[in-house]
Symmetry: C2
Subunit: 319 residues, 2 copies
DNA sequence: TTGTATGCGTTATCAG
DNA sequence: CTGATAACGCATACAA
């Protein structure tokens, strides 16, 4: 019992293949009665379109490539959710995914477009060479279409929350990369402090928990009680928490810590981390949808989408 | 400048399309000189086979579906590595992936086969209904082809290691599921203890760090010094570590803790976890390859593959 | 060993 | 609005 094809449905409904095809792709060009007839036939035959044939006829592949430019070992756990979001977005149009971690392999095989994450400023050179539509995950200032969390807003929320909880001094622990997402996060922090007549204090370092742990440890004398650390990532935040606890600091009474990312890492830390949570799955869906519509519109510019994050209050800030 | 096709290459090399096709799929049926001629032509034209056309002609889709039956929120971070491994395995034959988290959507769209993870005993009912080849990630005793870590060996290694480090009492903290992977892990522990004339002590609970933390806390009085906890997962192990530290127990001098999984979670814990590390990426590659060869062999049984894990000694056991 | 004809399932084009 | 025909790029079956 091979799969039913367009022709089978056509026979069943006593129409031509084209009518069936139109019912699927251009229903408005078909009269209502024929349309219903065909739909019934499709149901009784349990018709499933053959995506390979469709792809061939339309000069498509029904595949998009997802390129991850970061080191796999350092990839955040939330990528899993991102992937699920992407998968869900692609699903509706029966697109499949190809995961690529090596930019050299990007040109092997065919695809209709690219989703790219971890792109840094320097990557724009070869991004411009790509012949198919692409959408980035993560802010950029080179005009590429992208989807991201509203990083500035997120850190604004975090800083305001720290102020509302009456921490006197708010210190930003950032990641030492010169990339838009970091600038945006810092900007959210800086603006909020300035609006409250406070002076920003920013420390930047590699995004690893033992680094931030060491930093807090080494500079412990500089941090008065009643300080809240607003961190650019959950990793950094976890290290900060550990250092404070090791020094005998009391969380959240004397010290607050707020992370950023809010997927997974915040759950395994102890005490549980107050964090700026991203809607990662939703980000993935937006990514996929943006790319698909860009493909549909033969590469037309799509602009940017910034999703609103959410502050999740847990054990590392005052109740 | 459209993509070069078989015909283009054929013209360039002054042969027929079929010769070109043969050079790709059955090179042994073609004379050496023609073969080289064709290969050159392919290079100069930068020929890339059109996978949609290939798929259509062979009644394939060049897509495999990856079904994750676990709750996404509880998925382990190592899935990311698994996915990369799968992707790498699929890449060589230009297969693409479709991620599915809802078993109902398994039948939407087409695929050449299925990779399934998180399958439990009860799932065998509907697994049998599937018409395409499938390979499971994770042991099972229903005859499905599978790839997994050698769970029994892994826990054997962990238990032997604990003994070698002179912990007197070895306690197993397991997951309360009636599934083969858990039985195998327990078996490795039990056998090793019995061979050393010791009595097994097993506690089973939900696979969450705060559960194991609570358990150790509540039963603290029962655990003498010089005990090593061999845990069925890193999550459980992390909870155990936290509880011990909170009770003032000294790790690794008086208490040892060994986890299982060894991807990511072990890195963020403090102190860093001694753990049974799986070669997750390699597991993924094996999964993909097994499925692809099963597809090639029109569904022939592939058997099972058990990969050897590795014990990584870190801070939660004696040096 | 190589080439020719045909079909895979779908959509675009053009005719009715 | 509907249908016949060709085309997408490749592989199978058969013929030379």
């Amino acid at each position: 019992m091979a799969m039913a094809t367009l022709s089978d449905v056509a026979k069943e409904a006593n129409v031509s293949k084209m009518t069936v095809s139109r019912v699927i792709n251009h229903p408005e060009q078909v009269t209502e009665d024929l349309r219903l007839l065909v739909i019934n036939a499709m149901k009784t035959l349990n018709y499933r379109p053959n995506s390979a044939a469709k792809a061939l006829a339309q000069n498509r592949t029904n595949v998009v490539k997802f390129l991850i430019l970061e080191d796999i070992d350092t990839t955040e756990p939330y990528y899993m959710n991102l992937l699920f979001g992407i998968a869900r977005g692609l699903d509706k149009q029966q697109y499949a995914l190809q995961l690529i971690s090596d930019r050299d392999k990007l040109n092997a095989g065919n695809a209709d477009g690219y989703l790219i994450t971890g792109a840094r400023t320097k990557d724009s050179e070869w991004l411009d060479q790509l012949e198919k539509p692409l959408v980035l995950y993560g802010e950029n200032r080179y005009g590429y279409d992208f989807v991201d969390t509203d990083n500035k807003l997120g850190e604004t929320m975090a800083t305001e929350y720290a102020l509302a909880k009456n921490y006197q001094s708010i210190i930003f622990i950032g990641i030492d990369v010169k990339e838009p997402f970091e600038y945006s996060r810092e900007a959210g922090y800086i603006n909020t402090l300035q609006q409250n007549g406070l002076l920003p204090r920013i420390h930047r370092m590699a995004n690893r928990s033992h680094i931030s742990q060491g930093f807090i440890n080494d500079h412990w004398a500089e941090f008065a009680r009643n300080t809240c650390f607003v961190c650019a990532s959950d990793r950094l935040a976890i290290g900060v928490v550990r250092a404070i606890l090791a020094k005998g600091g009391r969380i959240p009474d004397d010290f607050g810590v707020i992370g950023h990312d809010g997927v997974f890492l915040d759950q395994v830390s102890n005490p549980q981390l107050t964090t700026v949570q991203q809607q990662v799955m939703s980000l993935g869906e937006h990514l996929a949808r943006m790319l698909l519509s860009k493909i549909d519109q033969s590469g037309a510019q799509q602009g940017e989408v910034l999703l609103t994050p959410q502050l999740v209050a847990r054990g590392t800030t005052r109740p």
